[in-house]
């Protein structure tokens, strides 16, 4: 009886594997298991290898699995690429037709099924994946009924005959396994049967936006962000909102600024290339103190980079990428689930701090399905809409015209003053990206400049949000600092490292990337060591920490930038080395394991003799 299992399927891209996996994951979720799914795919539509991995557990699973229990290989390439990751006693289930062979050194059981032949017999090539699902269900002890019910629900509109064919295909797959390998079941412990949700981060962001009062999205398609707009374009008609596909990201962000100026809660969603294009207008939002929310689903950079691969390398661009000094808030979710309240909160922060709020999502969060507890997305428990400082219409009416001080020194405790919105009588003002005085009029007076700059920047010092979240014992010997997708692996690694080393280990989740919560981090790290785990090449968050005054001496770093997810094992290894005093800077990935490296910060190592 396993409390968790890992199922993997690989084949050619564009052969319907996506939806096959969606079926599998949904049925497993409905059966009450926790799901953590991930995949490898390329920036092409058809052809090329793709593989999908689903980790199922009776308790929360939140990181890539250490190994695979059942690998379904639809081609030999899948075996070549994936078999090395299966457990020693795993099952590799392949199509008889491909004459599969296991690579040397892999001890798993290779079983073949005549998938192709069975599909041919059913007379519809789409049935192959259904046979696969049936067979997988049989091995893992998942309820065949669940699969069949799903098919009825989803494809019912295609006619009874079609659904019946699917059912048959599933049954045949199931029966074949039961008949041939009755003893080889990978029995998964029974689930609690609770009804949970399963979604990708982009869907969670869309839900969070809806709950957070967002009614407008202006965006331009890009991997891995597109599903946010694609979800909202379906939701918004129901609430009078609007989703506009703009001509580019420059237009998208500026339309958001316009909408924010008008008083709406508007957002855009993009990935690195789009973020780069938005730098100028993010400065406009900073200058005009206009609320706007941007989700950046980070992917391999720079330039086109690796559009379908994981990375967390836009942190510096999000916090500091625009010309000049302007306020921005950057949040990072630690799970799909967290994207719902965090996206909702982003709109509150934007309205309260009158500046752009960016959400540093990442490809794995954005695109991979994870279980979401229904309690976490109960409407009543999500952040209530808080519109921040808005002028009182009655007070405005009393003012008379042309004297509303939009950028008044009369600020709230956050350093933010009231804004008016078009339609409010006597609230007219000029919002300009040029430096301006209290009424918004262009003004380059030096003293005013200093006031305005301080006004804009200083509000960040007091942002009220849960900046960090700590998991572990107090006074830990080592605190793993993580955010985004990486958090799950860090959390899973924690207990393992404690067990392995006998040391106290904590995980500090960074929810607020910028302004950097240096004090909070220092507090939790205390006299221990900090290991910052991030998916980029130069240690962007560690750099931000150090730049913000954090003592570099006790800061260790684990980086991965090969496009794959950081694993529990990698964190465990790196943490152990830090605890043993063996390493400070480490990288992993690219086929090699965790290895020591030099400080990743890019500096000139030697400067030519300067003349004195």
């Amino acid at each position: 009886m396993f409390s968790e299992v890992c199922w993997q399927i690989g084949g050619e891209q564009g052969t319907g594997l996506d939806s096959t996996v969606e079926v599998f994951n949904t049925v497993a979720s409905r059966a009450g298991y926790y799901v953590y799914a991930y995949k490898t795919f390329a920036s092409r539509i058809k052809g090329g290898h793709t593989d999908f991995t689903t980790r199922l557990g009776t308790t929360r699973v939140q990181a890539p699995a250490p190994g695979v229990n059942l690998l379904v290989a639809l081609d030999q390439e899948t075996i070549n690429l994936c078999a090395k990751n299966v457990y020693p006693d795993a099952i590799v289930l392949a199509d008889e037709a491909i004459n599969p062979t296991l690579p040397e050194g892999v001890s798993a059981k290779l079983l073949t099924i005549p998938f192709n032949k069975m599909t041919l017999a059913l007379g519809n090539p789409l049935m192959k994946n259904n046979i696969v699902l049936g067979a997988s269900a049989a091995f893992l002890g998942l309820p065949l009924e669940g699969f069949k019910a799903y098919a009825s629900g989803r494809w019912g509109n295609k006619g009874e005959e079609f659904v019946a064919l699917i059912h048959t295909a599933m049954e045949q797959g199931y029966a074949h396994v039961q008949a041939n390998w009755p003893d080889l079941a990978i029995s998964l412990a029974p689930a609690d049967g609770k009804e949970r949700l399963l979604m990708i981060g982009n869907e969670a962001a869309a839900l969070g936006a809806l709950a957070g009062g967002c009614r407008m999205i202006f965006s331009y398609p890009i991997t891995p962000a597109s599903e946010i707009a694609e979800s909202l374009v379906k939701i918004f008609p129901k609430v009078g909102g609007i989703a506009v596909q703009m001509e580019d990201e420059l237009a998208s962000i500026v339309a958001c600024v316009g909408a924010g100026f008008a008083g709406a809660r508007a957002m855009t969603a993009t990935a690195g290339p789009g973020l780069s294009l938005m730098q100028e207008a993010l400065g406009l939002a900073s200058m005009t103190e206009t609320p706007v929310v941007v989700v950046d689903t980070q992917r391999g950079g720079p330039s086109t980079g690796m559009p379908t691969k994981q990375e967390q390398s836009d942190l510096l661009a999000m916090a500091y990428g625009g010309h000049g000094d302007g306020p921005r808030i950057v949040l990072a979710p630690g799970s799909v689930e967290e994207l719902v309240p965090m996206t909702a909160e982003a709109f509150n922060l934007a309205d309260n701090y009158h500046c752009p709020v960016l959400i540093a999502s990442d490809l794995a969060l954005a695109l991979f399905q994870q279980t979401v507890e229904p309690e976490a997305v109960e409407l009543a428990k999500l952040p209530a809409v808080s519109r921040g400082p808005v002028a009182d219409p009655a007070a405005l009416a009393a003012l008379g015209r042309d004297i509303f001080e939009r950028y008044s020194k009369n600020t709230n405790e956050n350093g933010v003053s009231e804004r008016s919105m078009p339609g409010m009588k006597n609230g007219q003002f000029l919002a300009t990206g040029a430096e301006h005085g209290p009424f918004g009029k262009v003004w380059e007076n030096p003293a005013n400049r200093v006031y305005m700059m301080d006004r804009r920047m200083h509000r960040l010092r007091g942002v009220k949000t849960e900046a960090v979240r700590y998991f572990g014992p107090s006074e830990a010997d080592l605190v793993i600092v993580a955010f985004g997708t990486t958090l799950g692996a860090a959390k899973e690694a924690r207990a393992e490292i404690e067990q392995l080393t006998g040391k106290k280990v904590g995980v500090l989740q960074i929810r607020l990337i910028f302004p950097v919560p240096v004090a909070a981090i220092a507090k939790y790290v205390g006299n221990g060591k900090a290991l910052v785990v991030e998916s980029n090449a130069v240690g962007q968050f560690a750099f931000m920490l150090k730049g913000s005054g954090y003592n570099p001496a006790n800061l260790a770093s684990l980086l991965k930038y090969d496009g794959n997810l950081i694993t529990v094992e990698e964190i465990r290894t790196a943490a152990t080395r830090v605890l043993n005093g063996e390493a400070q800077f480490m990288v992993t990935g690219g086929g090699a394991g965790v290895r020591t490296s030099s400080d990743p910060t890019i500096v000139l190592e030697s400067a030519k003799e300067a003349h004195v």
Partner: protein, 288 residues
């Protein structure tokens, strides 16, 4: 009802004495007054340039954005609150160089805004470089040997892109300009109001006198049928766009807002942000 004074600000204008933009500003203010629109109902998004400063001098809700992006801003405002009168404004460089992509897309998207271009055929604020509407051969700081690029024909592009309202005004012809802007503001859908608004400091070619001499005034041609797209195109070609008046007005206008599914008559900003728990449960159901 609002008066001209209500639409003025306490800010002294930063334009050069005699700049064409004064006339455009006045024309806009007058049009708003005559239509009985209140300042708080007006939102104006402007770009960067001498022209883009127009928002500094009109008492309305003004968003002075980055160079070239007045149109996305104006569309964002309008779609957020369709109850407002929304205007985009800026120069020829702002609109047709860096802003060209947005212009072409605003034309086809057809959100109900009015776009006022102050075309002086030069970059004013950066002190006299060639603009996309500069004439061939024009010598400027950036083309000391004369402009070698074909100039943009923004009105023809508007017609070609299916724009429902295409007009051209002249800063010195207030009467016509006011009428044009009034009509544009009332037009349901994207309305282009190009204006010739001479830069008296840097453009010594396309001066007030030049325009006075060259311009064909459509108001003086009672036979002109402004509902005929092909005639409009022909007129623009014949006159090399040196023509003023309402050049084309779609007799059966439509607008983007009316085609958006689920979009309501009330401005988004005036609707509740609460989510109906039943709807929420229904949406969550999709993820079960």
């Amino acid at each position: 009802m609002a008066t001209m004074a209500d639409f003025r600000t306490s800010e002294k204008s930063w334009w050069c004495p005699g700049c064409g933009d004064f006339g455009v500003l006045a024309g806009l203010q007058k049009a708003l007054v005559e239509l009985g629109i209140e300042p708080q109902q007006v939102a104006l998004a402007s770009g960067i340039g001498c022209s883009g400063k127009i928002g500094n001098y009109i008492n309305s809700y003004n968003l002075h954005v980055v160079h070239g992006r007045s149109l996305p801003a104006a569309q964002g405002i309008k779609l957020a609150n369709r109850e407002l009168t929304v205007i985009a404004a800026g120069g020829d460089g702002d609109g047709f160089a860096i802003g060209m992509g947005h212009y072409m897309h605003a034309l086809r998207r057809n959100v109900d805004i009015t776009y006022i271009v102050m075309d002086n055929q030069i970059y004013g604020l950066t002190k006299g470089q060639t603009s996309p509407t500069s004439d061939g051969g024009f010598q400027t700081k950036s083309t000391p040997n004369g402009n070698i690029e074909k100039s943009v024909n923004q009105m023809q592009l508007a017609i070609a892109s299916g724009c429902g309202f295409v007009a051209n005004g002249f800063s010195a012809n207030q009467k016509q300009l006011v009428e044009i802007i009034k009509r544009a503001l009332q037009f349901p859908g994207f309305a282009l109001v190009n204006t010739y608004s001479p830069c008296v400091t840097f453009n010594k070619l396309n001066t007030f006198d030049f325009y006075k001499q060259e311009i064909v005034n459509l108001d003086e041609d009672p036979t002109y049928d402004r509902s005929d797209r092909f005639a409009a195109m022909k007129k623009l070609m014949e006159t090399n766009e040196l023509v003023t008046g309402i050049i084309y007005e779609d007799p059966n206008p439509t607008r983007y807002e009316d085609k958006v599914s689920g979009y309501r008559e009330q401005g988004i900003v005036n609707q509740s942000l609460e989510v109906d728990p039943v709807l929420w449960a229904k949406i969550l159901g999709q993820y079960k």
